[in-house]
Symmetry: C3
């Protein structure tokens, strides 16, 4: 008989009774607050078309690089999971069985927690996923997905999502967002401006992207002023479609503040496709500062997500493309890197620049001291590999004593896995309550204050920081 | 009605009853030991003149960069808090109200714990500081400060301070220390030799400082031998005024051990004001090794506090000057950096070099392995941003298994905030007891040994390491 | 009266009753499993000759750099402990007394836990080691060592060691391993191939080592092809003597994948003794990739142990030689460093490359993301200074959420201290059970799964990863 699947009401709360009792009480204050999802990667087409999701594998396995990277690490070919062109003909049920038979690999990972929540709460499953229950799962989930109450908009409402932000390139026409707005549906799905494809000279297709940007805007994006004007225009268009933020995923946190003629000369090399690697880095650095300048004008909140070595596995990239679990963090420096940007704009209290990191060593050494001083800075939550119980706990433990809670911005789910969104916010709320409960239990905070902070972290801070 | 202000007897002790009980027992052994404060930045003039402190803002807010950096990070102008020349005319009561209304920003920070201790224990306040109680606080504190029992010397005695060390430049005449000594007051206030202003070619006013050093000593500080002789002379003078230590706050931990002619040639460039940045770094590096050599002669204990990017906020520095909360830690390397110094002096068992860091990643990787081997090395406590419950806990957790307790030197408060000194030592004692209690509860140490270690950390080790 | 020495049945288990109860239950599943010791530095001569160990100091103190480095750090001369040529004439009893009188230095260190286990479990001592009990200890231990049941093979069996791996240079004739095999004794003692002396151009005696390698193999090790063939031959010989793994202790994790002519040209410089430091580094980097290629051919599992600054204390090295407690970790980068190797071989599911680190900051940032993706990679356990309760706990906390448990390989004791082997494995099992118990108590894992993982970590994973 398969073991049962149970979600404890006390999950993620510290084990000792004193702290657990406080954590429970704090959690009661936040467990049913609406979800603010200010940054993520869900597909707006889902909400535009409201078409049913296809099957368990297509919905839960194939878009989730957390899952297939782990399976791949243990020697399971990506194609057998239905990933990429090579996996085109893989049978979804066979792929699911392979996943199910290896579900033990996820013990102790956040994926396991998120998935178990989806299985139990969304699909009502009450036995554990194993090789033996693979078909039961596949059939149950696939059957349910055909029902109206499992369509994207219905789930959005069931999940109590107040606002959900997707991420698009300046080259995106935002047609799905247009469709959502004109559909009359009340769900609030916003976009965010992610200009990497037209800012990073090393991005695939950068030169063609510049051409496309010129086309879209009518600006000559081979001139520095035309290029900047095109950004301003697209930012305004994104803002008109509800965007309140931009996002920047650079290899490093480098910023620059070049005199205008130097910036112009640098762009000439970039636009001509003759930029060296060092020039590409300098250009990205300069563009971060330019983007902050535009944020001061148009009020868009700026997010910086640096420090990922993208597509580390060259063979895999060639066969399967981007976002296949082969992006690896590298050590990332912020203090010197952000100095040019902060020297120019750091004292602007009206500005919000939200910093993220994949390098946990900078939490207490660099990010908390910076955010605990500069008015323009806020700290994003534990990101990507660190969006996990231990990762979130470390974030609070390393950041709070220097930056406090009010220089942080609550939680980002940052996910493509739509069904996991409530699970992820629930984990974040539980971990924050657990952290606060420890402060209360150790008499470092009073319980009434902890309750106020818990609500701020879960709801008020993300709304305020992202102007939602 | 304002919430009450209560200090729990169990604060900072682990929540589970088994460990908490042990922590309480250990704490009873150390809670009333005298305070040894071997390194800090209080103003000796306070104890020389014994003049009353002015008001709540002048005493508690305006000198405390932990406080105003946090307020500034949330958009509150420094001038409105009475900071700097621009804040000269700020009303102290208005500044205090602003602070009080934003006291929630300090939730979860050590400042909050220290201040609540000061409010409750020093001033007997029993309601929480909020916007509503701002005036009550301001009036109560300001009124009390006028009483004799709140004068500096009375507080020093009430705080049970056995010895308090301040920090002065070689250019300081130590007149306040002279005054204290000749006053007949029994309080032991010592100085420490901090030569950065005449050692760091990039220090503000370095060239003028060299001139002043020549004047003070009668040595020609434009020659290498004269310069070194001037140091020797000032060190001897400081020692005669009770100093037992020196302190060095360099950007990095770099040391050098140049052949004499090279050192002399380097100094020629430095003294002529033509040193490049690389030469300045090399000169600071060489001077650390020179200072260790002098310590071998005169017995002064050496402290190295590296790794702060000083005055990161250029606009702020220009308007408000040094020490305004804009010093930010950077990654700091020790193993290669200290190699020249240790190759020469590391095996001297009679020498004490105390290492500090703002980069917690080096605790287990570099500092504990170094201090667990070299006879000349000891580790200073968690410093600055890390002088906090979580920071101190991490220090013990990362350092102890490799360096043990006896290569550490107990606690430094390192503060300008005189009233917080007992609170800071109390936090350190509680965290050490909590750490030891965990070791006992997990049967990693016997309780009689933990009690001995607790007393050593609180009292014996700092006295011994600093020769007090 | 001396305090008693007691080993609690609950040692290293979390203090709260809920978690402790789970940890006890998990530990019952693993406490009596046989010991798999897949990597270490015991001396095969012990098992070949089965001669009795000499006395307490010779067995427990003088070979253990964890012990004498700590004593040295507090000013105790190595010679007085009987270390090195200078300590040749030191009285073993006097050395032991010195150690005993300073046993408090080890409070809170893993050495203390290991030693107390050895004292209590192996020698039946029931009072604590102090200055007062030094002679009692010395006499008891020395007397027992003369008994047959304390000979190496008897202890090996008593310790329930299923397999023990030593580490030898390619220049080793493996005569002791030969002797063990031909002795008829059933104990399984294997070797591992550690080619640093003939791979690292900066190793002491490298040129002579090349000559010796030529002699041993009949290959011309001054030519690139001859040199590689010699490696293949020695690897095959080691494999024939039971080796299942190789081991590589480089200063960094750098790898290279040079075109053959460049590799050949580089080797020409290396073999001619004219390699620069940069060339030496590049050669080591190239050889890691070559060794992986050979592993693909002969199936030997590869271990990489980078990041130690060897012989940091030059004076000590000159007087006392290698391995005297003066190897210090340095920051170590893996993502860019391993890129050449992984680009070539990372996707080989049949390959096993086990990564170790002395830089804990890479656990969550680099190693877990790499091992959670590349089929060829696994993560070795917390190493050296981090082979400790806190170090092991941090390893699991930082690694598990991204790499899971099944990309790790269980425990390595990696020790020269034979008697401490069961104690070290016991600590590892207890810490893993404590970690798993926390996951169960916080409802992040079910207890049946935790029990399975505990057994896998203690027994199945090392057997599988090392092909034992």
């Amino acid at each position: 008989m398969a073991p049962s699947l149970r979600l404890s009401a006390d999950r993620l709360f510290p084990a000792d009774d004193r702290t657990r009792g406080i954590a429970r009480a704090l959690y009661r204050e936040v467990s049913s607050l609406p979800i603010i999802s200010p940054h993520g990667h869900t597909d707006p087409a889902w909400f535009a078309s409201d078409a049913p999701f296809e099957n368990a594998s297509a919905l839960l396995l194939q878009p989730d690089h957390y899952l297939f990277r782990m399976l791949y690490s243990q020697g399971i070919p990506l194609a057998s999971l239905g990933i990429g062109a090579e996996g085109r003909d893989a049978d979804p049920r066979a792929a699911w069985r392979l996943f199910a038979a290896n579900y033990h690999l996820f013990r102790g990972t956040p994926s396991r927690m998120w998935l178990d929540w989806v299985f139990a709460e969304v699909f009502g499953l009450d036995v554990r996923l194993t090789g033996d229950t693979a078909d039961l799962y596949f059939d149950t989930i696939t059957e349910m997905l055909a029902r109206p109450e499992f369509r994207p908009r219905a789930l959005f409402e069931r999940f109590n999502i107040e606002v959900l932000t997707t991420t698009e390139s300046p080259l995106d026409t935002l047609e799905h967002h247009q469709a959502i707005r004109s559909s009359g549906w009340s769900g609030r799905v916003l976009t965010a401006y992610r200009p990497d494809p037209v800012v990073d000279p090393e991005f695939e297709g950068f030169q063609a992207n510049l051409d496309r940007l010129s086309e879209l805007t009518g600006e000559d994006c081979r001139t520095w002023q035309g290029y900047l004007a095109a950004h301003r225009q697209r930012r305004a268009f994104f803002a008109s479609m509800g965007a309140t933020s931009t996002d920047h995923g650079h290899p490093t946190a480098a910023t620059a503040d070049l005199p205008m003629p130097e910036a112009e000369a640098l762009f000439a090399d970039v636009a001509a496709g003759r930029a060296t690697a060092a020039q590409a880095e300098l250009f990205r650095a300069q563009m971060l500062t330019e983007m902050v300048g535009m944020s001061l004008e148009d009020g868009l909140v700026m997010q910086i997500h640096p420090g990922s070595f993208r597509n580390h596995n060259a063979q895999l990239f060639e066969r399967f493309g981007r976002d296949k679990g082969a992006d690896i963090p590298v050590a990332t420096e912020y203090v010197r890197a952000l100095h040019p940007l902060l020297s120019r704009y750091g004292n602007e209290a009206g500005l919000t620049v939200i910093l993220f990191t994949l390098d946990e060593t900078v939490y207490s050494r660099e990010l908390a001291p910076l955010a605990g001083h500069y008015p323009a800075l806020r700290l994003g939550p534990a990101w990507w590999f660190h969006d996990s119980p231990e990762g979130m706990r470390r974030f609070r433990e390393h950041v709070t004593e220097t930056a406090g809670f009010y220089n942080t911005v609550g939680f980002n789910d940052d996910t493509r896995a739509f069904l996991s969104i409530p699970a992820r916010h629930d984990v974040a709320r539980r971990i924050d309550c657990a952290f606060l409960a420890r402060l209360v239990a150790e008499h470092r905070m009073e319980e009434d204050e902890a309750a106020e902070v818990a609500v701020d972290l879960a709801y008020n801070l993300p709304k305020k920081a992202y102007k939602l």
